[in-house]
Amino acid sequence: MPNNPTPLALAVRVFPVHEPSNKSEHKNKKWRLPNAMFVFDTETRTDAAQRLTFGSYRFLVNGKLKQEALFYANDLPGKDRKTLEYYVADQRKRAQKSGEIPLLLLTKREFLKQFYKAVYKGRALLVGFNLPFDLSRIAFASRSARGRFAGGFSLAPWSYVKNGVERPDNHRPGVGIKHIDSKRALKGFTSRYRPDDTDLIPEDSVTGQPEKGYKFRGHMLDLRTLAFALTDRGYSLESACKAFGVEHGKRHVTKHGVVTFSYVDYNRRDVQATSELAVALLAEYAKHPINLQPTKAYSPASIGKAYLRAMGIVPILQRKPEFPLRYVGFAQTAFFGGRTSAHIRKVPVPVVSVDFLSMYPTVNGLMDLWKFVIAKEIRVVTGCQCKIEKFLRSLTPQALFNPLTWRKLRAFVKIVPDGDLLPSRAKYSSASNDFQVALNHIYAKDGPAADGVWYSLPDVAASVLLTGKVPKIVDAFKLVPAGKLANLKPVRFCGQVYVDPRTQDLFRTVIEQRKSKTNYSGMTKEGVVRLDKSLKVFASATSYGIYAEMNREESEKRVKIQCQGIGPEPYECSVLHPEVPGEFCFPPLASLITGAARLMLALLEHSVAKLSGTYAMEDTDSMAIVATETGGFVACKGGNLRTTQGKEAVRALTWKQVRQIVSMFETLNPYDRNIIPGSVLKIEDDNFDPKTGKQRQLHCLAISAKRYSLFLKSKNGSQVLLTEGKNNAKDRWSRHGLGHLLNPTDPEAPDRNWTRSVWEQIVRNPLGLP
């Protein structure tokens, strides 16, 4: 033990014990897409309050426009109202000649009446782009939500006036909104006083009889969320229209907030674009043979889970509710995310950037975890610490380049750390006072074995690899799949790619199918791009996240829950925001997958270090290895070597050495070599000039984990950031941690290009440029 290790309390994740939910049963209910759509959009003042000025809606039945109207805020100035009246009169004149649907002009109250009839009483599909914003603009009042939307808002769109005072109308439903993140929000109608009998008839009712207590939540489709769920990308209305080939895309207007004819045109066009985008997205969504309402497709993981259900895959903890939860708890305490660090901080160094091909599906394939997903049951084998210790004692880097070794890693060990290099969650900074994960040499407190901590075997293998020392193991268990689920059935992914869960490893198959050209024959270029993206999104959604999914619940007061953690017995604790495991949550898989990905990076680190090299940063599946064409010393403050001038330095590998390391990982390719030949470690395209195809010298400046920039150097030594469309296929500066900030020079500007200027400045300083 070193003389003065810093004593820190480690935190571990624990598994909250909940009764198995019957959510899957609900999700198996058939849902019919309503044949009518109510699409609306609002315009607001440009001040901070962003109050409603006017808006418009389109009501479509079976894709045909049946009604279109403008509506305006109660407090819209008379001049602006006149503009709207003239606009509508003008349009109606034109409509008489052209046979278009005549435009209506409604007050906000009249609009809300139509909204209520169509969306609540008629149960039409409510469509919008960033729907929560527009819903909040038409609301009369809001308050903090309770119950299902606790932590969010409850909006009251409908009101009535009594004695000159406007009040929320309790005979109408409210709208509950709870944001999950910037792209997703839970939305739904809340209950109302004395609902009619027809409002109490559930959607899928066979009898047509009202059910006491039923609440119709609405069919609210936010296209921003659906586009994200389909592509794992955030879109604006404009970019979504472009991406999905909408005929009448978004237009621009010179000035916002002032009611003019062109501004009304702009708003109507937005609604038209939104309705066409809805048709395009729903058509794209319909290609997926899954039983999931598009209004509930919140993320690619939602779609991924629906596919697993379509294949007849029952969540592991549901298929065997008596699975001993203590092992789930042990595995949960061993759970950490991807390995990410800034290894050389604030010093620009020349690098070669490398990354692993589909890291999580790859390690899934190597460990053969698909067998667990389709297993009839998963058995826990205990008392195997001696075997595991023996395995670790014989572990060499060469052994880890043998794919068969990875199948032996499906285990967890409890160790008493003594300088082992392991991930740990602690309050490393007293300034930030929050828990961060770091890879550190951990020492247990002197004393009884109670200080043992659970780790996934891949994490311990990584420690053995990097320290050459086998830790003291006090307990261990391994997982073994047994049998196959009975009702597994094949699906045709996107109606195109056939996957049979009984005979194919889904994780491997999806990646292979992405690379296989046979699926794309006869498809349009856009179709190929979309299918490829869908496969990519599906692979990453189902290969890791859903096994780690925990959903935070809001409650108004502390609740008592049972948890499984390091100890074998559950314990009770009281929390304000209890977490509920997601439908497919199974921490042993999640911990093994991320653990194996960290081991893969450790193996890469070891391979680099063996050649006396080092790296600037690493992030989950990628690394920037310090390297130049000819290799040698590179000045680097804090480096443990010295240049001939006596400056602190690190050794740069040659490009050839990096290529040799890359080729070493070829043995770990779990895919069909005819489809995906070569190594799973790739030299990224960023390293090559897009015009000449020749390798170029990249430089990296990392300032903290996940915050780094890759750049070139011009002849005069100044930085040239890798920029999409200019000198690279994509921007290569990190936007991590900047998402909540507005453009400092123009807060109204929606684009994020200002982050480039920030990075330009960050990079210039260490380069000694003004």
């Binding site: 039945v61 009604q67 009839k117 009712s205 009898t207």
Partner: protein, 174 residues
Amino acid sequence: MTITYGGDPIDRFQRRSKSERRKGTGKKCQCGEDRPLALLPGSTPTLCASCDRLSKGRSPVDDHHPAGKTNHPTTVPIWANDHRAVLSDAQYDWPNETWKNPSGTPTLAVAAWFRGYLETSEYLAGDFLLRGVRFLERLEPFLRKRLGANWWRGTELEEFAPKRKQEREVPHAK
């Protein structure tokens, strides 16, 4: 069959959506009737209005007031299911003032007559004429299959066959 002369499409959608919901998914009468408005909500087994009347020994035909009761007493006998699902439904799309005509104004009464006539004649045209069209178009392939391509030649029906210009000989090209 849907008849609409104006009216708010949102009202219409709401009405249909509600009746669809009340019907229950996949329900229909033993006679095959599955239009939600023609079925009796809550009936077990599911019954349509016409079958319900027949089972009670009553006439399956309703007296429909084409212009609305308040505007004109004339009635037309209409199959109960169609009365509910087509003609009464169409009247819900009328402006309330015209349908109910609370003040008894003659202008709105005349408007109601016209609306009633339009809808009823469209219903009859749809019921009689379109049905006849469909019948003839299906009969033709049936006869051709049974009696040959020129099945009408030499029969009394030949007089209804369209007259064609005689093909002229085309002079040889030089």
